[in-house]
């Protein structure tokens, strides 16, 4: 890593969050509560698509000067 400009931003930690949220199966392997007839297992992971995209966008804007 070059000295001078910080090459790793703490913002990047946010990118690890979706890994925890989606890979730790015990969080979501359940039928109830349903949403609109859809079991929890499915809508929980569906919601993570949006969380993942939002977190990536946040990190993008926060670290924009770096590139």
């Amino acid at each position: 890593m070059p000295a001078g400009k910080p090459s790793f931003s703490l913002w990047y930690v946010l990118l690890g969050v979706p890994f925890v949220g989606t890979l730790w199966v015990p969080f979501y392997n359940a039928v109830e509560p349903r949403a609109g007839g859809v079991p929890f297992f499915y809508w929980y992971q569906f919601v993570w698509i949006f969380i993942g995209a939002a977190l990536t966008a946040v990190v993008y804007f926060a670290t924009r000067d770096g590139s």
Binding site: K5, Y42, Y60
Partner: protein
């Protein structure tokens, strides 16, 4: 089967014709000297955020995805949904890693990942291993795109006898080969825009219309057998499907951007900002993928399997026939034709990019490296164009004369293999601490381990049950093989360093990577 569906076929052929015209026109789009490899094979590295978004979306979400993901959900239930966490975590990984690859490749004119490995580790042998792995993983993947076209042609009742049987497929592929030869990466980039638009229309129509016909999402999920609705929970001594689900998602996410066709998509973009923006925008396709996966359950609820009209289709194509059958039953013929065009065009884009990526690999890392070190840019482009043809006709021959089953098995194995290039490529982007021969040894062990596990599983799947401390941990064979790969790479690198074995000269410098 159920006779020729003329209306669907007319709509299908009309869209196919439109796309063919686009493919040839593409040569003049953002014109460049197509006699240079970086122009033909990387579109001149000029694609901006929007084109890259379409290109990568068209590249990664293939016709086979469209057919196979719902087919897996249709057959295996909840486990098939691992595709969702897989695409959710792939993009944060891309956000961090791929800008570094772009920067160093731009600086040094690298066209393939193996080019980078060659420069970084000063080893033609290691680069060859990376290139050959890429070729092996890509070839069956191209063949599978043909399977996607075959299934939808079959669904429209296009069937001849003998030689005629494969004629429509052959025609489709000859057209594809011709415009890829002429226009290079510009062709799939332009076609991807049409492809993605009609896929979005199809899927959104499907997830609105079909649930209404079936009585709502609650009804659809009620049709799923209880045991398959969620994952099998762990019990003492066995982690159930939990470990399989998580390792499949994690391993596949790591592998996704190691595939040569993904690399080509990344390297053809005009800058690292384009890649970072795309990492935030590509989840729009994950959204689409979730809906596509749900089609598997809709097919289940619609009872396509028990419908005698589709019996012949299931006989021939297995669960891959689930989605075409669902569309035939739920849509009017003209819209079914539109949807099938979406799937077939969805096969052309990745097939074109994959063949270009394979051609780039062969040209740079085999032809130039071992046969013609002084090949000019013009010669490189000429060889690559020719190889793109060879690769496509190889895939075609495989499907026409070989067995579809083998293509599917080889593609599963391809995912396991491509993951073994991670240490050299991804870790190589950050550090040179691993020795070139250590990486090569790790790669060899990883390839052997992964292949052996697949053999033990008789190529029926890639979930290998490992026993760790008396507990059965079923997990993705590619990931187990990667662990073996890394263990060997790290220990043998330490040994090689201790013995002071020459580690070669690094052609790159830290500032070439553009920071984090």
């Amino acid at each position: 089967m159920q006779g020729l569906n003329t209306v669907a076929l007319v709509v299908f052929v009309a869209f196919f014709g439109l796309v063919t015209a686009l493919g040839f026109v593409a040569a003049r789009w953002r014109q460049g000297d197509l006699d240079q490899l970086h122009e033909w094979g990387l579109g001149g590295r000029r694609f901006g955020t929007v084109v890259t978004w379409f290109l990568l979306g068209g590249d990664l979400y293939t016709a086979y995805t469209f057919i196979a993901v719902p087919a897996l959900v249709f057959g295996a239930g909840a486990l098939g949904f691992f595709a969702l966490p897989y695409t959710i975590i792939a993009y944060p990984f891309v956000f961090v890693v791929m800008p570094r690859l772009w920067s160093v490749s731009h600086k040094h004119g690298y066209i393939t990942a193996a080019d980078f490995v060659r420069g970084r580790f000063d080893s033609g042998a290691l680069a060859l291993a990376i290139a050959v792995t890429g070729l092996l993983a890509t070839m069956p993947y191209i063949a599978l795109q043909l399977v996607g076209i075959q299934v939808v042609l079959g669904a429209m009742g296009v069937e001849g006898q003998g030689v005629m049987h494969d004629l429509p497929l052959v025609i489709a592929f000859v057209i594809l080969a011709a415009y890829t030869y002429q226009s290079g990466l510009r062709a799939p980039a332009l076609i991807a825009i049409v492809k993605d638009a009609i896929i979005y229309v199809t899927v959104i129509a499907a997830v609105i219309v079909i649930p209404i016909e079936l009585g709502g999402y609650g009804k659809i999920f009620d049709a799923v057998p209880r045991a398959k609705l969620i994952l099998t929970a762990p019990k003492p001594g066995d982690l159930g499907q939990y470990s399989a689900y998580a390792t499949l998602a994690f391993g596949s996410a790591l592998a996704l951007f190691l595939y040569p066709h993904s690399m080509t998509g990344v390297l053809s973009s005009s800058g690292r900002t384009v890649i970072r923006r795309n990492a935030a925008m590509l989840p729009a396709y994950s959204f689409l993928l979730a809906l596509i996966a749900a089609l598997g359950y809709m097919a289940l609820a619609a009872g396509v399997k028990d419908n005698p009209a589709y019996a012949a289709g299931f006989d021939r194509y297995g669960t891959n026939f689930a989605v075409p059958a669902l569309f035939l039953g739920a849509f009017p013929s003209w819209f079914a034709g539109f949807a099938f065009a979406a799937i077939a065009i969805g096969a052309l884009v990745p097939a074109a990019i994959m063949s270009i990526a394979a051609a780039n690999l062969f040209t740079r890392n085999i032809y130039k490296e071992f046969f013609r070190a002084d090949a000019s840019g013009k010669e490189e482009a000429a060889v690559a164009k020719l190889v793109s043809l060879v690769v496509k006709f190889g895939a075609l021959a495989f499907i026409v004369f070989g067995r579809q089953k083998y293509a599917i098995q080889l593609q599963l194995l391809g995912g396991v293999w491509i993951l073994q290039t991670l240490p050299a490529i991804v870790i190589g982007l950050y550090t040179r601490r691993l020795h070139r021969w250590g990486l090569l040894a790790g790669w060899a062990i990883g390839m052997a381990t992964g292949t052996w596990m697949a053999l033990v599983l008789e190529f029926k799947g890639t979930v290998y049950p490992l026993r760790i401390g008396g507990v059965a941990v079923a997990g993705y064979a590619g990931l187990w093989a990667l662990v073996a790969n890394l263990a060997v790479a790290v220990t043998s690198s330490a040994l090689l360093d201790a013995l002071r074995v020459e580690s070669g000269k690094d052609a790159t410098r830290e500032e070439d990577y553009g920071g984090a």
